[in-house]
């Protein structure tokens, strides 16, 4: 059984979907970065290990 070729509509929407995907990924990265900075003022390894700046 072979897959049917994409409808032209899906080809045109591909660019839009990729763009939205990138925006969502950037949003996740943004929140992660902000969390790291807020907890440890920039120390990624301390944030991952769960340490706060007061420890």
């Amino acid at each position: 059984m072979s897959f049917r070729p994409d409808h032209e509509l899906h080809t045109r929407r591909f660019g839009r979907n990729v763009g939205l995907g990138i925006v969502l990924a950037a949003f996740v990265a943004l929140i992660f970065g902000l969390t790291v900075v807020k907890i440890t003022e920039g120390d990624v390894s301390r944030a991952i290990s769960g340490a706060t700046k007061n420890e």
């Binding site: 045109r12 929407r13 660019g15 990729v18």
Partner: protein, 313 residues
């Protein structure tokens, strides 16, 4: 939906990612980002670079959201004016409902994120800026008063105040001075544009000063606002924001700007039509570099003062 029911109108309504980006008025956003950044940089307390980046991003998205809501509300005007007829809504790429949805969603997102990243004073100021631009200027006063540009200028002047508040958590005399600089610069900038895009505003029946009070009065107003702007900028040179670079920039650009405004005031309509508004076009172009140069000077002076190279005048 059957294949047969899939018509050309469906294809036209299928916007690309770029069209949604255009809805955020990227050119205006550049000015918002730059002035917001300078406001943030000029603030006297330090801020983590990543938090500063998030703050600028939020200010940019907030500005873009206001732009999208402006395009939603003004799609009828945009389709009449040649300058704006290729925007995403009048060109049929995006529906006004989509623009409204995107505008409201991004407004909420930017304010919330700015509050979480920095403080709620900055977030409230950003929310007020969006409200002021969309509700007070776009919906209410733009089609009501010939002073629309003066009022609209206030909305465009808020980014440095928001940037400053993101760092300090408040509003100060210095951030008010940056606000005043953009506020006083906007009328001569837009009235010069209105002088050489006359038919657009006439057709759209927007009560621009050129339409409602006449072009001679507009020329007089351009000179008056430029004089007031010059006084303000020289006063700024001796505030905490001013340094040597700012003073030199102010001297150079204000002399050129005053000369341009004076020439515009002296010219008659016949003079302008003879050379296709050459002086007015030059003045408009100069106004763009004028604002950029003054804010760049604040940024350079602040950075040099930060490293102790020199202090304020």
């Amino acid at each position: 939906m059957t294949a047969a029911s899939f018509t050309t109108s469906d294809v036209r309504a299928d916007a690309q990612f770029r069209d949604f980006y255009d809805l955020l008025k990227p050119r205006v956003m550049r000015l918002v980002v730059f002035t917001g950044f300078v406001g943030l940089l000029a603030a006297p307390t330090p801020i983590h670079p990543y938090v500063a980046f998030v703050a600028i991003l939020c200010i940019a998205i907030g500005g873009g959201a206001a732009g999208a809501l402006n395009m939603w509300w003004e799609s009828d005007l945009d389709s009449i004016m040649s300058r704006t007829s290729s925007r995403p809504i009048p060109s049929g790429k995006i529906t006004s409902e989509e623009a409204r949805g995107l505008g409201f969603a991004l407004s909420g997102f930017s304010v919330l994120m700015l509050g979480l990243a920095t403080n709620w004073v900055a977030a409230s100021l950003l929310a007020f800026t969006i409200f002021f631009y969309v509700a007070i200027y776009t919906m209410w006063l733009k089609r009501l008063t010939p002073q629309n540009i003066v009022i609209g200028g206030a909305a465009g002047a808020f980014p440095p105040i928001v940037g400053w508040a993101a760092v300090t958590g408040g509003v100060s005399f210095e951030s008010m001075l940056m606000f005043a600089l953009i506020f006083m610069w906007t009328p001569p900038h837009f009235w010069a544009l209105a002088l050489f895009t006359r038919s657009d505003y006439d057709n759209a029946a927007v009560p621009m000063l050129t339409v409602s009070r006449g072009r001679k009065v507009t020329r007089k107003y351009i000179l008056a606002y430029t004089l007031l702007l010059t006084l303000l900028v020289f006063a700024m040179s001796f505030s905490n924001l001013g340094g040597l670079i700012f003073l030199v920039t102010a001297l150079t650009f204000n002399l050129l700007f005053l000369k341009g405004a004076f020439e515009i005031w002296q010219r008659s309509e016949k003079d302008s039509e003879r050379d296709n508004f050459l002086v007015e076009r030059k003045f408009f172009k100069l106004s763009l570099s004028y604002l950029f140069a003054h804010f760049a000077a604040i940024a350079v002076d602040t950075t040099l003062m930060m490293f102790g190279v020199w202090s304020a005048l």
